[in-house]
Amino acid sequence: MTLEADHADAAALRETNASSAGGAALRHLVINLFNLIILLPLGWVLLMSVKSLPDAMRGDFWPSHFDFTHYAFVFHRIATLPVNLFNSIYVTTGSVLITTFCAVIAGYALVHIKPIGAGLVVTALLVSLYFPVRVVSIISIYETQHWLGLINNTAGLILPYVTLQLAISILIMRSMFQLVPHEMFESARIDGAGHWRALWEIGIPMVRNGLVVIFIVNFVSAWGEYLLCLTLIDDEAKRTMPVVLAAAQGGQGQWAWPNLAAVYVIVVTPGIIAFTLAQRLFFKGLMEGALKG
C-alpha cells in the first residue's frame, strides 16, 4: 500500500470510523460467521426438541415433521424430573439471594465504612481468585457437610454454593461502591440515617447495574453447578438438574433425544431470557466496574 493511500485511509477512518464499504461488508461477514458458530448448536437443540422421533433418528438439521408433545411428555413421564427441577430452583434462588445480600453489604463496608483490616480482606478475596479453591476444597467441604449432617440434603448445598462466586461478587460491588461519592452517605448519616438506611435508600439505586451483573453471574454459576452436587448428594431424586442431565444416557427410553432436548431447552431458556431483558443494565454494569474488579 502506498503512503498516500494510507493517508486517505486514516482520514476516512476519522470521518466514518470505517475504512471502506468492502471492508465493512467483510467485517460484518466475519462477525456473523462467529455468531453463526455460536447460535448453530443452540438452534440445533431447539429444533431437536420439536422433531418427531423418526426425524430425530435420521439426524437431518431441519425436521420433516414437527412434534411439540415432548415438552408435556417429559413432565408427565419422567417421574423425578419435576423434583429435580424444583431442587434446582430453590437451591439456586437461596444461593443467589444470600450471595447478593452478603456481597452488597460487604462491598459497602469495604468502601464506605473501612474497618481496620479491610485491606487484608480484599487481598484474601483476590488471592482466592487465583487459587484452585473449588477443586482442592472439595475434600474438606465433604467433611464439613458430613459433620453438619448435610450429606444427601439438597438444601444443604446452599451453604457451599454461596461461596461459588462470592469473592468476585464482593469485589464487583466494591468497585461499584467506589463510584458513589462518600459524601452522599455521610450527609445521610448526619441527617440521622443509620448505615442500613443509607445503604438501602442511597446505595442500592446507585449500584443497580452492578447488582444485575452479580445476580446473573451467581445465577449462572449456581444453576449449573456440578461438582459439589455430584459429590455431596447420592440420591437421584435429591439432585439438581445439571447432574441429572449430565448422567442421562441420551437416546434410550425416556431420554430419547427429543425428550432430552426438551428438558435442555426448559433448563437453559430462563437464563437466556433474563439476560436478554436485562442486557442494557448488564453491559452498563460490566463497563462501570465489573471488568475493573
Binding site: 462470592l166 461438582l227 437464563g271
Partner: protein, 318 residues
C-alpha cells in the same frame, strides 16, 4: 494511616455516642456488615484450604475406623515418586496449551471487528449474541457438547459421515470417552464457550483507548497491522494479562468436564491431577484423603508457580 485514624475520629465525633463503649460498639457495628460474607468465605473457602493442607501431612482415610497419624511429608514423597502424578500434571498442561491461545487470539480479533461496527443497534445485537453462551451454565454447555460429539447420533459426526462422506459409520472419529481426541474436543468446546465473554472483555479495553492514538499513527503512515501491534496491543496488555493468568488457572484446574467426558480410566488423557485427587478422595479403597490432599496441593502449587511466573513476564514495563 494517620489520615485514616483522623478521619475515623472525625466520624466518631459526628456520631452521637463517643467514649469507650461507643468505640467498642462502633467496632462491632463496622464488622457487622462484613460478617455474613466473611462467615461464608472463611467457612467454605479459607478453612477448607488450610484443612486440606493439614490433611496432606496425615494418613487420614475417610472411611477408616482408625485415627489418622501425622506422617510429615510421606504423602508428598509418595505422590512425587508416582509416575501418574507427573503424567496427570502433564495432561493438564497439555490441555491448557491447546486451549489458551485460541481463547485469547480469537476473541481479540473478534473484539477489534465488533469495536468498529458503526451502527449502535447492530453493535448491541452482536454483543447480546456473543454473550449468550456465557449465560448458559457450565454443565449445560458440557451436556450440549457431549451430545454434539456423540459418536452415533451427534451432528458433528452426522456432518462428517452423511453430508461430507469423509468417514463411514465404522471409522467415524470417537471424540469423547478418553480417546486421543478428547482433550482437543474439550478445548474447542471451551473456546466456543468463552468466545463471547472474552470478546466483551476486550471490547471494554478497546473502548478505553483514546481514538486519537490510532488515528495519529495512521496519519503518520502506519498500516493497520502496525497500528494494532504498536498502539492497540500495548494498551490492551493489562487486560490480556488478567485473561491469560485467570484462564491458565481455570484450564489447569478443570474437573467437571473430565468427570463428564472422561471418567476414571487412568489411561485416559482426561485423567489429570484433579481427577487423580478426586479418585483417591472419593472413589478408591477407604478414601485416602490424606494422600488426595497432597496430590491437590502439589497440583495447586505447581500451577500457582506458573501463574506467578506469568504475572512476572507480563508485568508493566517501566
Amino acid at each position: 494511616m494517620a489520615q485514616t485514624i483522623a478521619e475515623s475520629e472525625a466520624k466518631l465525633g459526628a456520631g452521637a455516642g463517643g467514649g469507650e463503649a461507643g468505640l467498642l460498639r462502633r467496632g462491632v457495628n463496622e464488622w457487622l456488615f462484613l460478617a455474613p460474607a466473611l462467615a461464608f468465605f472463611i467457612g467454605y473457602q479459607v478453612w477448607p484450604i488450610f484443612r486440606v493442607l493439614w490433611l496432606s501431612f496425615t494418613d487420614f482415610q475417610f472411611l477408616s475406623e482408625k485415627p489418622a497419624h501425622w506422617v510429615w511429608l510421606d504423602n508428598y514423597a509418595q505422590a512425587l515418586r508416582d509416575p501418574l502424578m507427573w503424567t496427570s500434571l502433564g495432561r493438564a498442561a497439555l490441555f491448557t496449551a491447546m486451549f489458551l491461545p485460541g481463547t485469547i487470539i480469537l476473541p481479540l480479533l473478534l473484539a477489534i471487528l465488533v469495536d468498529r461496527v458503526g451502527s449502535q443497534r447492530l453493535a448491541t445485537l452482536y454483543r447480546v449474541i456473543l454473550l449468550i453462551p456465557a449465560v448458559i451454565p457450565s454443565t449445560l454447555i458440557f451436556v450440549l457438547w457431549k451430545w454434539m460429539y456423540n459418536y452415533q447420533s451427534g451432528p458433528i459426526n452426522h456432518l462428517l459421515v452423511n453430508t461430507f462422506g469423509l468417514f463411514t459409520l465404522q471409522n467415524a472419529p470417537q471424540w469423547l470417552g478418553g480417546t486421543a481426541l478428547t482433550l482437543p474436543a474439550i478445548a474447542v468446546m471451551e473456546v466456543w464457550w468463552g468466545l463471547g465473554y472474552h470478546t466483551i472483555f476486550f471490547i471494554a479495553g478497546l473502548a478505553a483507548i483514546p481514538k486519537e492514538l490510532p488515528d495519529a499513527a495512521r496519519i503518520d503512515g502506519a498500516n493497520e497491522w502496525q497500528v494494532f501491534w504498536h498502539v492497540t496491543r500495548p494498551q490492551l496488555a493489562p487486560i490480556m494479562m488478567i485473561l491469560v493468568v485467570l484462564r491458565f488457572g481455570s484450564a489447569m484446574a478443570v474437573i467437571d468436564e473430565y468427570l463428564i467426558f472422561g471418567g476414571f480410566n487412568r489411561a485416559s488423557p482426561t485423567y489429570t491431577w484433579t481427577i487423580f485427587m478426586y479418585d483417591q478422595a472419593f472413589k478408591l479403597g477407604l478414601w485416602r484423603q490424606g494422600y488426595a490432599a497432597a496430590i491437590g496441593m502439589i497440583g495447586a502449587i505447581a500451577m500457582m508457580c506458573v501463574m506467578a511466573a506469568l504475572i512476572w513476564v507480563f508485568r508493566p514495563k517501566g
